[in-house]
């Protein structure tokens, strides 16, 4: 499954919204449930599913989902990040 679809599924699971669609420009402001708790769930779920570990609050500092996808393309499944 392409990374985009995989990530979209994570978002749908975490935010309990099967209709949720991600674009490169999506940000926390676009998803009502993406509050601080949703953010922690999202962070832990992405780490588990993609085998990455975010540094600090890095996930919140990505400008949008496009930037997050580029990060995951580089680092997913242990390719490059301890």
């Amino acid at each position: 499954m392409p990374l985009h679809d995989d990530l979209e599924q994570v978002f749908r699971d975490v935010f309990a919204d099967d209709a949720l669609a991600l674009t490169d420009e999506t940000t926390a402001q676009d998803i009502a449930q993406w509050d601080s708790l949703g953010h922690v769930n999202l962070m832990f779920t992405i780490e588990e599913r993609f085998g990455v570990r975010f540094r600090g609050n890095e996930l919140a500092e990505f400008a949008n989902v496009g930037e997050l996808e580029r990060f995951l393309e580089e680092h997913a499944n242990g390719s490059g990040r301890a």
Partner: protein, 496 residues
């Protein structure tokens, strides 16, 4: 008959505080809660869950075996929230929503078994919460002690919601109350925000006598998000709990040492009289300090935050100007006229009115269930500006003074969960437009600051991209020294 929805009254809050011994200030102190991102006291999560359980069906011969709770959004005492229940023979699931958003989720499992009551004993709980910060909560850190609920108070709650008929016996209700006590008073204590609970009640054993011994240990800490996980046990395994709780960081405070060097280009305000409404915390505190540093005599108006107001007043002892803290509700027109105006008159008039106060902003999606709260928020926001502006228009006209109205860059960024805030700020800008035309002698300045690192924004996501208050306050005061424009209110956009 089952209640149509969940409502926790202020009396229920008091009963639960006494029943559990959990007097964490987030739940019992308006002044404390104002300095957290919640803005106002929050209903105990466990109490909200107990109230929601009144929606469960009756289960004769059943006893609670396990309950998993997720506290996803704050509930307010006195407000009403819809509860949806889905049940099977042996399970129940409850969803409490707030304006369409899930605020509390409970999953319960029941087993056949007799109900257990507790044997009366003297309540045992500490008086003030421990206050671990995140750094102190190393994995392996353990606490232990004895705890006993006040059974009389616990029974008032369980009887009111007929919980024992629904399979939640006295032992289960007490174990739930204990988790609230543990998180709010012991580990992590004062800074805790309870997030998740997984509680199992042992099926064995007779009615235990009080107090009950307990232990709790930190099993995980995530510094990145300020989270700890605990493993805890009550009554030698009578109840076992896995708990996730956030540990709040210190509220940000405007710092004089940071502020002073930024004011080099700011005008000399010696001899000028200023009123800052909402001057005890956040940008208002930094503005109050900046004005005093530049020589103004400032009346700092605050409603709840007495300690913070005193801190701001005490911070500028060596400043050129003065600060006097005045407690009152600036949204009350009579208070503005009867209390605040004489204080201004005693200083000979008014040169600057700063309208910075706002009600606490909680996320509020545009939803039919949230219309009342939307309207209340907008009205209260408006009142905090309309009342002081109307009270002081004559004084400001007389000295060709300035009214500074704090709007927000949210008018351009349009945060998804803040339609009420955007609406309120747009209304304030409308007022400024009208007043600038009707009162040309007074200068009207509308400021749209960027997202600021204030108490309100001191959350995991809130802090991201938030600017410190000092440079923004210094820039606003510097702009006061620039020549005024001739037409309409001046719009100062400081948003990033």
């Amino acid at each position: 008959m089952k209640p149509p929805a969940l409502r926790v009254s202020p009396t229920d809050m008091e009963l639960f505080a006494r029943a559990s011994g959990d007097v964490n200030p987030l739940h019992v102190s308006a002044e404390y809660a104002r300095r957290t991102p919640f803005g106002e006291p929050v209903v105990y999560g466990v109490l909200g869950a107990l109230a929601a359980c009144a929606r469960l069906r009756e289960r004769p011969g059943s006893a609670l075996e396990s309950i998993a709770l997720e506290f996803l959004g704050p509930l307010s005492a006195g407000a009403t929230y819809p509860v949806e229940a889905q049940e099977t023979e042996s399970t129940g699931e409850l969803h409490v929503t707030d304006s369409g958003q899930l605020a509390l989720k409970a999953q319960l499992a029941f087993a056949r078994g007799s109900q257990r009551t507790l044997v009366e004993g003297r309540p045992e709980a500490r008086e003030a919460p421990a206050a671990f910060d995140l750094e102190a909560l190393d994995k392996g850190l353990a606490v232990s002690g004895n705890w006993a609920p006040s059974l009389a108070h616990l029974r008032q709650l369980t009887q009111r919601w007929e919980l024992s008929d629904r399979g939640i016996d006295e032992l289960a209700a007490a174990a739930l109350a204990w988790t609230s006590y543990l998180v709010g008073m012991e580990l992590p204590g004062e800074r805790a925000t309870f997030w998740k609970l997984d509680l199992r009640i042992a099926s064995r054993g007779e009615a235990p006598s009080l107090p009950l011994p307990y232990t709790a240990e930190v099993t995980r800490r995530d510094e990145r998000v300020g989270l700890v996980e605990l493993a805890a046990s009550l009554g030698d395994g009578l109840a076992t709990a896995t708990i996730s709780a956030f540990v709040r960081s210190d509220p940000p405070r405007s710092d004089l040492a940071t502020l002073a060097p930024l004011l080099a280009d700011a005008p000399d305000l010696t001899g000028q009289v200023a009123v800052v409404v909402g001057g005890s915390r956040g940008l208002g505190a930094a503005l109050t300090q900046a004005l005093a540093l530049r020589g103004a005599d400032v009346l700092l108006v605050y409603r709840d935050s007495a300690a913070e107001a005193a801190r701001v007043r005490g911070s500028v002892n060596a400043a050129a100007g003065t600060i006097e803290a005045v407690q009152g509700d600036a949204g009350d027109a009579a208070w503005c006229s009867d209390t605040l105006r004489p204080l201004v008159a005693a200083r000979g008039g008014l040169d600057l009115l700063v309208c910075n106060a706002s009600p606490p902003i909680r996320p509020l999606p545009l939803d039919p269930a949230g219309v009342d709260r939307f309207e209340r928020f907008v009205l209260e926001s408006l009142g905090l500006v309309v009342a002081p502006v109307s009270a002081f228009l004559d004084e400001l006209d007389a000295r060709s003074g300035t009214t500074l109205i704090l709007s927000s860059s949210a008018l351009t960024t349009l945060p998804a969960e803040w339609p009420h805030y955007v609406t309120a700020k747009a209304a304030l800008e409308g007022l400024a437009t009208w007043a600038a035309a009707a009162h040309p002698r007074t200068r009207f300045v509308v400021v749209r600051p960027p997202k600021l690192l204030t108490d309100q924004m001191n959350s995991l996501l809130g802090r991201v991209g938030a600017s410190p208050v000092e440079p923004v306050a210094a820039e606003i005061v510097r702009r006061l020294g620039e020549p005024r424009s001739d037409s309409g209110p001046e719009l100062v956009e400081l948003g990033a």
